[in-house]
C-alpha cells in the first residue's frame, strides 16, 4: 500500500532529500491536504534525525541536509496553515559564538536542532561582538540568548556579557545559556548563567526547561 504523503514527507527528510521534500509539500498543498499535520510529521523526522546524530548513526552534514529538507517543506506548508492554527513558535533564541572565537560547528548543530524543535533561531554566526548580542536582546526580545565558546580565553566573554545585561537592567528580561568546549556546569553557575548546554541534545532539552 502506498504510503501517505505525510509519511513520504517524513521519509524524504530522513533521506535528506530537499527536492523530494519540496515536491511532496507542494503536492500536499495541491490536494488541499492537512498542512499542519504534514509539518508535524516533518518535525518528528527532525527529532529522529537529532537522536540518530546523538547516537553516532549519522553525521553533521546529514543533519544539515535534513534541516534543509525540513526548511524547504516548511516554507511551502506554513503559509497554508490558518494563522490561528499555526503552532506558535516557542520564542526567539539568539545564538552565536563569542567574539574572538571562530569555532562554530557545535553552535551550528544546536541552532539547527533548536529550529527544528520550534524556536525562532537568530544565528549571529561566530566572532560575535558582545555589543551585538546586547543589541539583539533589546531589538529582538528573545526568550533565550545562547553563547558558545571553545577556548578559555574566549569564554570569559560569556561572563562579561552577563555583566553587561545587568548593567543595562536587562538581566531578568532574558535567559542566558552558555556552552562550548571550554565550558562546564561549574563555570555556568559561577558566572550566573541560567543553563549550560553540555551538548546539542541537552541544550535543546534545557531550552525547553528555561521557557516553562
Amino acid at each position: 500500500m502506498e504510503k501517505s504523503l505525510y509519511d513520504q514527507l517524513y521519509d524524504a527528510i530522513m533521506r535528506q532529500d530537499v527536492e523530494a521534500a519540496t515536491n511532496i509539500a507542494k503536492k500536499i498543498i495541491e490536494i488541499k491536504g492537512d498542512a499542519a499535520e504534514a509539518l508535524k510529521k516533518a518535525s518528528e523526522a527532525m527529532s529522529r534525525i537529532g537522536e540518530m546524530f546523538d547516537a553516532g548513526q549519522i553525521f553533521l552534514p546529514e543533519v544539515v541536509l535534513a534541516a534543509d529538507a525540513m526548511k524547504a517543506a516548511a516554507a511551502i506548508l506554513t503559509p497554508a496553515i490558518p494563522v490561528e492554527k499555526r503552532k506558535e513558535k516557542l520564542g526567539k533564541y539568539v545564538i552565536g559564538t563569542v567574539e574572538g572565537d571562530v569555532h562554530d560547528i557545535g553552535k551550528g548543530i544546536v541552532a539547527t536542532l533548536l529550529e527544528a524543535a520550534g524556536f525562532e533561531v537568530i544565528d549571529l554566526g561566530r566572532d560575535v561582538p558582545l555589543t551585538l548580542f546586547l543589541e539583539k536582546v533589546k531589538t529582538e526580545k528573545p526568550v533565550i540568548v545562547g553563547l558558545s565558546a571553545l577556548m578559555t580565553v574566549t569564554m570569559v566573554g560569556q561572563k562579561i556579557f552577563i555583566e553587561m545585561l545587568k548593567k543595562e537592567g536587562l538581566r531578568d528580561k532574558v535567559k542566558v545559556m552558555v556552552g562550548g568546549g571550554a565550558t562546564t556546569g561549574t563555570w555556568a553557575e559561577e558566572i550566573g548563567a541560567d543553563a549550560w548546554g553540555e551538548d546539542a541534545p541537552s541544550a535543546v532539552k534545557k531550552a525547553f526547561e528555561l521557557i516553562k
Binding site: 552534514p61 571562530v102 560547528i105
Partner: protein
C-alpha cells in the same frame, strides 16, 4: 622561494573561486563520500587498526585527490585557494626527513620513523593547550619535565593572568602567551632540562601567539604551532602566523583536529581529510612536522574505535609515502588517576607507534574541559607503552586494541566516566604521582602483559 610562494598563495586566497562556507563544507562531505567509494576505503568495525596496507596506499591517493580538487577555504575572503600537483611535489621535496629541536643535552631528532614501530617515538608531555591555573602552572609543567621519557614539552594555557580572566584580543592575552612560555621555561630549568624543546603556543589571536617568543619564551629551536581551521580552512590570522614563522625561520608544526562526525563524515572521510590536511600543512602552512588529533564529535575524544582506526589509517597512509615527520595528539575523555585514562592512552599510543608516528603528544585529558586535570603520569604512560610497542605488527596491535576497547569503550560511548582527579589530588608538589595513581596504572598495564608485552615497567 618560500616567501614568493607564500605571497602567491595569499593572492590566490583573494582571487580564487568564490563560494559560501556552507557550500564548501557540503562539497567536502560529498567529495569524501565519492572518494570512499572510488578508492574502496572502508572502516571495518572488527578491525580498529587498519591492517590492509593496500588500503592505506589508496587512502593516501584519496586524500591527495581531495586536497588537489577541493583546495583550502579562506573564511575571511570566502574563496578557495588551490595548489597544483606540481607545486605540491616541489613543496614536498623541501620538507626535511627529520628535524632537530631543542638545545644542549636536550637536543632531539624528530622524524625518520619507519612503519610498524621499529624505532622509538619522541614523547612530548604536557597539558597540550588545556587550561591550567596560574598558581599550579610551573608545578604541573615540572611534573612532565622531570619524566625521563619526555623529550619535548607541550604547555597548557593559563586560565588567568595576575588573577584576571584572560580575554582574547587584549593585552592580557598577549601577556598570558608570553607567561605560558616563560613559566614552562622555569619548569624546565627546575627539572634540570633547560634545553628541552617547547611545542606551541597557540592563542586565538596571531599577535598573542607570536608574543610567546623571546629569550625566556619560545626560541628558534622550539616547534611553533599553527592551527588551520576545521576542515581544510584558514583565515587571515593563519596567514599572519605563517608569515611570522617563515620570516623568523622557525620550525613549524601544522596542528589539526579533524572532527569525526563533522563535515568530514565518518572514519573513512575523516582519515582522508587528515591526509589532505597533512598536504595542506606541508604546502600552505610551510610545516616541518604535521600533527593531528582526530576527535569524535560525540565523545570529544580520539580514543573511540572509529577515531583510533581513522588516526592509524591516516598515519599509515602518510608514512607509506611521505618521508616528513608526523605527530599525533592524544585527546582523552577521562582524566588523571582513573583506569579509563590509562586504557585510552595505551590504546592511542599503540596505534600511533605501530602506524608510524614520529612524535606523540600526551595528553589532553577530560576532553580539555577541566582546569588542572593534567599530570606527568599521562606522559609517562605514553612513553612506557610506546617503548613496549616497538616491533609490534599491525595485526598484533589490532588484537591488543580489540582487548583494550573491551575495557573502556562502553563507558566512553555512554559518557559514564569515573571522576577525574585534579593535579593536587593525585600528585605531590615536588612532582611525584600519588601511590593511588601508580597503583591504578600498575593494574591497568597488566592487560598488556597478557599479550606478552612484559617490558612495560
Amino acid at each position: 622561494m618560500r616567501l614568493d610562494f607564500f605571497w602567491d598563495l595569499w593572492e590566490r586566497s583573494k582571487t580564487g573561486e568564490e563560494i559560501t562556507e556552507k557550500e564548501f563544507d557540503m562539497k567536502l562531505f560529498k567529495k569524501t563520500m565519492e572518494l570512499k567509494k572510488d578508492f574502496g576505503i572502508n572502516f571495518n568495525l572488527n578491525s580498529p587498526v587498519l591492517t590492509d596496507r593496500t588500503m592505506a596506499k589508496d587512502l593516501y591517493q584519496a586524500g591527495l585527490t581531495l586536497f588537489l580538487e577541493l583546495g583550502t577555504y579562506c573564511r575571511d575572503t570566502g574563496r578557495i585557494l588551490k595548489i597544483t600537483e606540481e607545486e605540491l611535489k616541489e613543496c614536498l621535496k623541501r620538507v626535511p626527513y627529520k628535524i632537530e629541536l631543542g638545545d644542549g643535552n636536550e637536543r632531539i631528532t624528530v622524524g625518520g620513523n619507519p612503519l610498524e614501530g621499529k624505532k622509538h617515538v619522541v614523547i612530548a608531555g604536557g597539558p597540550c593547550a588545556c587550561p591550567v591555573s596560574e598558581d599550579l602552572f610551573v608545578e604541573i609543567m615540572y611534573s612532565y619535565a622531570k619524566e625521563d621519557g619526555v623529550k619535548a614539552i607541550y604547555p597548557g594555557l593559563l586560565t588567568t593572568f595576575k588573577g584576571k580572566n584572560i580575554q582574547t584580543r587584549t593585552l592580557l592575552e598577549i601577556a598570558a602567551a608570553r607567561e605560558e612560555a616563560s613559566l614552562t621555561r622555569k619548569a624546565l630549568i627546575k627539572a634540570g632540562r633547560p634545553g628541552m624543546p617547547i611545542i606551541g603556543i597557540v592563542h586565538p589571536s596571531a599577535e598573542a601567539s607570536n608574543f610567546a617568543d623571546g629569550k625566556d619564551g619560545l626560541r628558534p629551536t622550539d616547534l611553533h604551532e599553527i592551527d588551520p581551521l576545521n576542515e581544510l580552512k584558514v583565515d587571515v590570522e593563519t596567514f599572519k602566523r605563517i608569515y611570522y614563522c617563515i620570516r623568523n625561520d622557525y620550525f613549524i608544526t601544522s596542528m589539526v583536529c579533524p572532527i569525526l562526525g563533522g563535515f568530514a563524515g565518518g572514519p573513512e572521510g575523516t582519515a582522508m581529510v587528515a591526509v589532505a590536511e597533512a598536504l595542506q600543512g606541508f604546502t600552505l602552512i610551510n610545516a616541518h612536522v604535521f600533527s593531528f588529533g582526530i576527535t569524535h564529535i560525540n565523545t570529544r575524544s580520539g580514543t573511540d574505535r572509529a577515531s583510533l582506526w581513522a588516526s592509524g589509517a591516516a598515519l599509515l597512509a602518510l608514512k607509506n609515502v611521505l618521508p616528513a615527520p608526523v605527530g599525533s595528539l592524544i585527546w582523552a575523555a577521562a582524566g588523571p588517576c582513573t583506569d579509563i585514562i590509562c586504557y585510552e592512552i595505551m590504546a592511542k599510543t599503540i596505534v600511533d607507534t605501530v602506524c608510524g608516528a614520529d612524535l606523540i603528544m600526551s595528553a589532553g585529558s577530560t576532553g580539555g574541559k577541566l582546569t588542572n586535570h593534567y599530570t606527568g603520569m599521562e606522559a609517562r604512560m605514553a612513553y612506557l607503552t610506546s617503548k613496549a610497542s616497538v616491533g609490534m605488527t599491525l595485526e598484533y596491535a589490532n588484537d591488543v586494541i580489540k582487548e583494550l576497547l573491551k575495557l573502556y569503550e562502553e563507558k566512553l560511548l555512554r559518557g559514564n566516566l569515573p571522576r577525574s582527579k585534579s593535579f593536587n589530588e593525585c600528585y605531590t608538589s615536588d612532582g611525584f604521582p600519588s601511590r593511588e595513581y601508580v597503583e591504578i596504572w600498575d593494574e591497568c598495564k597488566k592487560i598488556l602483559v597478557k599479550f606478552g608485552i612484559e617490558n612495560i615497567s
